[in-house]
Symmetry: C2
Subunit: 204 residues, 2 copies
Amino acid sequence: MRISELSERSGVPIPTIKFYIREGMLPRGEASAATRAVYGDEHVARLRLIAALTQVAGLPLARVREVLEVIDAPPTDPIEAIGRAIGALPPYVDDDGDLSRARAAIEALGLTFDPRFTAVAQLESAIRALEAAGLPSDPETLRRYGDAMMQVAAGEVAPVESMDTADAVEYAVLGTALYEPVMLALRRLAHQHRMVEGPPTPGR
Amino acid sequence: MRISELSERSGVPIPTIKFYIREGMLPRGEASAATRAVYGDEHVARLRLIAALTQVAGLPLARVREVLEVIDAPPTDPIEAIGRAIGALPPYVDDDGDLSRARAAIEALGLTFDPRFTAVAQLESAIRALEAAGLPSDPETLRRYGDAMMQVAAGEVAPVESMDTADAVEYAVLGTALYEPVMLALRRLAHQHRMVEGPPTPGR
């Protein structure tokens, strides 16, 4: 297809497509004449990925580039590849080297973890914010969230194991980023439901 | 306490404190002399709330002001008060009036809901993003997330019922915003754990 059709099918304006090509984020089309290039479904898919990362997940361009680099030249270890790509997702938190709260929480949950994975620093930052606001961050409270997230994760990881690494990275990044707003909206709706309906005790 | 001590205890710089006072977001201190004002613990608490909303939850100032207005003059119905304050939290999504996907999902989950509540438009937007990226948003998939969030919410709503409305609004807003990053970090850690350890099948 020509660039005009690529723009139409992806919903991305032509100047933006040209920008992504110049930045190395989108492969050039195949030259069909001196001034013409043709594009394929892989270009549509790449533009959709970039759109999801920037518009939905809120990644700055530099972070999108990190994800694309992992997808285009993934480390041989799929867990390392996925960890690196997920590390490009927000929230971006300061890591002052003290991960003690996160470590204690993760160990209490019995989870295997790599301390360099950004989610450790994100958890540390989140627990400190609870402390600063005077909200509970005791092991029992964190276990409630941890148990629910283990349950969520149990339904999510499986398909990755049967994919090649580049596809697994893309699936993991999109799945991580795009189901987050689903969960958060459903949590708020669950709160509202519970406030209106009251607790689901027997006999009510 | 004097403004210097208020700044020290809250971690908020004096010029920022003065800005919040001018903007009506923080009550003036009690005048102790023509050019002196004294501040109390309620000022520390208010500054901590503003800091949590801006720095952790990422609210723009106009949205912080909405939350504070609800807290300072709450509607008599606590559910309406909480709904309005939670409505000031991100993500901020376009609402084009079509909430059909969210409605179908919420009704399939059997939840009572107010279609004006922002979480409905947030869910609609999140489901459309899944569709655009080609990720599943079928009822069974959404039920998995919904069930986990009902479980999370079950442990969260209870304390609100014994509070006065202003306190309940503050607790609901902070609790909604500050446990979100906890959950999201734990979900990513649960993924990593599951990828390293494999599925928790018997015999493994």
